[in-house]
Amino acid sequence: MATLEQKSPNVLLQSLCCRITGKSEAEVAHQFQYAVRVVGSNYAPSIERDEFLVSEKIKKELLKQRREADAALFSELHRKLQTQGVLKHRWSVLYLLLSLSEDHLKPSSRVGNYGALFAHALPRDAHSTPFYFTRPQSLALCYGEKSGGLSASVGTSGISSLGVYTLNGPTPTPQSFLASQPPQSAVEVTQPLGSRLAWALPVSNSVPSAVAPPNTRPSPAPPAQTTRVVNRPRRDGDSEVSEAALVRDILYVFQGIDGKYIKMSAQENCYKMDTKVLLCKSKCDTSSRLAELGWLHNKVRKYADARSLDRAFGLVGQSFCASLHQELKEYYRLLSVLHSQLQVEDEQGVTVSTENSLTLRRLLVWMYDPKIRLKTLAALVEYCQGRKGGELASAVHAYGKTGDPQMRALIQHILSLVSHPIFNFLYRWIYDGELEDTYHEFFVASDPNVKTDRLWHDKYSLRKSMIPSFITMDQARKVLLIGKSINFLHQVCHNRTPPVKIKPPSNSADTPKEAAELLSDLEGTFQEKIDSAYFDTSKYLLDVLNRDYQLLDHLQAMRRYLLLGQGDFIRHLMDLLKPELVRPATTLYQHNLTGILETAVRATNAQFDNPEILKRLDVRLLEVSPGDTGWDVFSLDYHVDGPLATVFTRECMGHYLRVFNFLWRAKRMEYTLTDIWKGQMCNGKLLKTMPELSGVLHQCHILASEMVHFIHQMQYYITFEVLECSWDELWNKVQKAQDLDHIIAAHEVFLDTIISRCLLDNNTRLRAIFDQIIEFQNAQDSLYRTALEELALRLQFEEKKQQKEKEGQWGVTAAQEAEHKKRIEEFQETIPKMRSQFRILAHFYQSIVQQFLVLLMTSPDESLRFLSFRLDFNEHYRAREPRLRVSLGATRGRRLSNI
């Protein structure tokens, strides 16, 4: 055997040909070619590749021949075969043996009687022919087989075969039994016609297996049936099909196999009575009602079979298929009980049948419940078509909402199986943070392309369609958050120590049974589990963030540095930076500014801050556009990384920069105005000697105080009404936050409020006002410069005059005098020009402020309307701008109407 191990199929086939025909290789060339062709064509590929099925079939075959001992022996051998495990294709070998056996069984059981049988059988050949038609291959076989087939058919077709048995049968059969049985049954079942044919009939109908001696009875059920089918109408001319035959037929139909009379009709997609069979209407009706079961069975079966091999269908789908198979198994069990009932009847003969036999009516009653079950299953299968994962569970769950307790139990059972994988996913996810969802069935989706820095925001999402309907949206969100928190801890915080409290309750939902228990108590235990896991995980995450990453400290640092909360530091920084920042932006160097920043930190209370925080503080220069000064590009920066970057995202930092820029600018205006005021105070006294300037100086003072008022009100508003209020809100929310999402949301709300209240959305007007202030400063500076220059010259002139007079000379020469006069005149001539310049400035400024006020009035935010009121406290602008009046009135009216 070992030597032949590696031979090719062709060689093996050839030796097989030689062996069977007993000829040499050359002689069997023709047969060999045929064999290769048949094997090569691989015809009939659709045979069950299931060892179990094949072995069952063999057992059934043996049992059918009443060889129980052999069947037992076979199962013993089969078991042995399984344990050895040498063969890979056991089913294949078994199948081959089985298919070869079918032809050999009949002759082998009665080898000795060929001649006699043949002689007896020949005259009755006519009756048996239909049998050959149904199994044409046996006709083509050898003589021995032919006679075997004949004997079988003869045995079932007529009374004379009984004689054959008694005369020639190898096993002696009790004569009395054979003699008494047939007539008796004949009398009982049909009307005795008196003729030999007539009383032979019932025997052929139901007795064959009963009449035959147990061990030699060769005829299997199908031939018996066939002969019955064909013989019956022919013999007594009665076209009605017997009920027993119908019952047998229907039992086949139940399994989705076409019966003799009831067949699947392809175009109408239902089981239909063969039109050629004559049957009374009530029977016809009953059987078609029963046949519905077959259709339903087919539907469920088809779905389960098609899906169970489809791996992409996922675990939920697989368990759905498994539950369907379970139901089908129950159904098959029932069918096998019915079959065995039928068998018993066959054995006992028709005598007992009137009392206990299967009738269509009985079947109808018995099959009532299974039918409803199957109907539900079929409907379910129809509804679940094309769904998978959580969607499938939702679909099943939807069917559980029925009033029928039986159906509800059925659906509950299926649902517990179906939801089991989902609960497994869920527990893996909320306790380990692992997502083992190869087929995308779970309602949490993960995007593998997202890097860890965006893990919290983008990596995980909910698959809305996959949320089973028994899990609420709120629960699903919490589930998502729990797993996300765990993953965040692992991947971003690199914190692998599992939170102490969050130990998964031991083997939760390990069995479908527990899943069922969970399902029944969704509001209670399940919710509780989710809640506690959510609470613990989130709390742990926040603890880690606060303890290890000082989230709250950083939040406060943002407030202090980027939002100018640390007053002394900012003031000092601005003092130090002023000389640097007035230079053009292109001449600034980051390292110089960083040095200044450090100086400022060291000199102020900021030095006592956490070094961790100070380390992150940095200077940043924005992009330079031509003509920018240092003021335009300077910005403070705060570095965030790791878990902090999840709260302080890039967008958040962008917002912070914008707010910082705005606040910095506003601060600078305050400084500028202070400088302006200082100049006015210092120079006021000096310039008193030049009365011609008083007008223009007065103008300056008025404009400056207008600006001071505006900026002070703005600063007050920004500090107290915007920053402090929002900060307080944020702080409260952060303290109360239950999970990281709450903090992130609160933080975003905080930034949004600041930005909208600082009018950063449309800050062009405010920018223009600030620009006017700068321009005013420049104009005033140049005014003072020329004025002081002039003053210095005059003083010089006077001094010289006095000195000369002391020396006893003429104070001034005529030429000098003329020159002095001329210069004074020239200076005085410039004054109206300056005045007009300041007038224009003031006009511009006021018009911009007016527009700004109009903007504030129309803003939906109430605090901005209050700001407008405060800015225009003495109604100066309101008197000039009719729109302000109108809108104020309008808002008042609106408010009244609101009340």
Binding site: M1, A2, L4, K7, P9, L12, L13, S15, L16, R19, I20, T21, G22, K23, Q31, Y34, A35, V38, V39, S41, N42, Y43, A44, P45, I47, I58, E61, L62, D70, L73, F74, L77, H78, K80, L81, Q84, V86, L87, K88, H89, S92, V93, L94, Y95, L96, L97, L98, S99, L100, S101, D103, H104, L105, S108, Q137, A140, L141, C142, Y143, G144
Partner: protein, 74 residues
């Protein structure tokens, strides 16, 4: 070691073949040891058993008819 494993293997194979022969006898397939072992090997190579059984039946039929014709000529 290798030879022992071989012997073991051989024993297992022989036992398997015995069991199969017994089953074959139970089922009256009419196969002798040699044809059976050929068939088993073919099956192990993944040949469709249905096709194989058809071939065997056909071969039997052919040899039967041959014999019959010989008988008649004789």
């Amino acid at each position: 070691m290798a030879s022992a494993a071989n012997v073991n293997n051989l024993n297992a194979v022989r036992e398997t073949m015995d069991v199969l022969l017994e089953i074959s006898r139970l089922l009256n397939t009419g196969l002798d040891m040699e044809s059976l072992s050929i068939c088993v090997r073919l099956c192990e190579q993944g040949i469709n058993p249905e096709a194989l059984s058809a071939v065997i039946k056909e071969l039997r039929k052919a040899s039967e008819s041959l014999k019959a014709s010989e008988n008649t000529t004789n």
